[in-house]
């Protein structure tokens, strides 16, 4: 299944968001997620199923002013 991860196309096997994050090497990372421009909280990730073409944003702490 193809998804758009942070603006780039990626091929993944896992459909469940929490598992897809592991597959994408975000295991144990402090990140926030949004699917198709909607925030998905950490507690919701195991209940969210990704579909072909979905846009997944994975954000992490970064420098800011």
């Amino acid at each position: 299944m193809k998804i758009i991860l942070n603006g780039e196309e990626r091929e993944i096997e896992e459909r469940i968001l929490s598992r897809a994050l592991c597959e994408l090497d975000f295991v144990d990372a402090v990140v926030a997620t949004a699917v198709n421009e909607r925030f998905v909280s950490a507690s919701q990730r195991s209940a969210i199923e990704l579909n072909d073409g979905d846009r997944l944003e994975v954000l992490a702490p970064m420098q800011g002013g």
Partner: protein, 256 residues
């Protein structure tokens, strides 16, 4: 100084971007005495996880964090970013930025008020990056904001306090609202001037991060805000148009 029931001793809030190295960032924060640093959220590259290392440095500083919504141009974007920031940083504080114009990075005050209303209703404690406009300030307070952060000058410009009159009006109009000068500060003297005007705090980033010696500049800002605050409390003299001799005239020798 109190922001949403949190008592802070230092009137300096520091951004964490653009430092030459993480070690210099940490040393600058320490030298500044800042108890609050601003942070952001950006895309994390899978397998690289740069954000995790940064977050570890920030946690070691032991300061409070004020996440921002920098770069957001719509209410929806800003609100979604705030949701994501609350989860990652574990704080209801949000520095709300809704940018309306590219050259000046001026806030879109219409979107700002709307986003502030949505977020305060959801339990966020909003620090809105705004202009010195009194009517916008009223609307932000009506939307639930308990702190206002007017710009001094455009972000990163280092131009200081562009509209002293407007900022004075804001201070006079809202004597009990915590007011923070956010953006545009370039020199410690600008920060001191903001404190002398009666502002409660200043938030700056580039002036320290892009200095030749960021740690030295952080210390200079710490001293400047303290000097400005002390001066405000000491009640400055009124300026006058004409000279007035400070040395007594009485008893002056006639030697001419």
């Amino acid at each position: 100084m109190q922001f949403y029931d949190v008592e802070l001793a230092s009137p300096l809030m520091l951004g964490t971007a653009q430092y030459p190295s993480p070690a210099i960032l940490a040393a600058a924060v320490q030298a500044s005495g800042a108890e609050v640093v601003t942070v952001s959220l950006r895309r994390e590259a899978s397998g690289n996880l740069a954000g995790q290392a940064f977050w570890s440095i920030i946690r070691d500083l032991g300061t409070r964090v004020l996440p921002n919504t920098a770069g957001c141009r719509t209410v929806k974007e800003a609100v979604t970013t705030a949701h994501m920031a609350r989860e990652v940083f574990g704080t209801p504080w949000i520095k709300l930025e809704v940018i309306g114009e590219e050259d000046t990075l001026q806030p879109d005050v219409f979107g700002l008020v709307e986003a502030a209303r949505i977020l305060t209703e959801e339990g966020f404690q909003v620090f809105p990056y705004t202009t010195e406009d009194l009517v916008v300030a009223e609307r932000l307070l009506a939307a639930g904001c308990r702190v206002l952060m007017p710009w001094g000058a455009p972000i990163g410009s280092g131009r200081g306090l562009n509209n002293i009159f407007g900022l004075k009006m804001l201070r006079a109009h809202f004597p009990d609202v915590p007011l923070v000068i956010d953006a545009g500060i370039g020199l410690p003297s600008h920060a001191a001037a903001a404190m002398e005007l009666g502002f409660d705090a200043v938030l700056l980033n580039t002036a320290v991060a892009k200095a030749g010696d960021p740690v030295g500049m952080a210390k200079a800002f710490a001293l400047a805000v303290e000097a400005g605050r002390l001066a405000r409390h000491a009640i400055p003299m009124e300026p006058r148009e004409m000279a007035s001799p400070s040395t007594p005239v009485m008893g002056r020798a006639m030697l001419a």
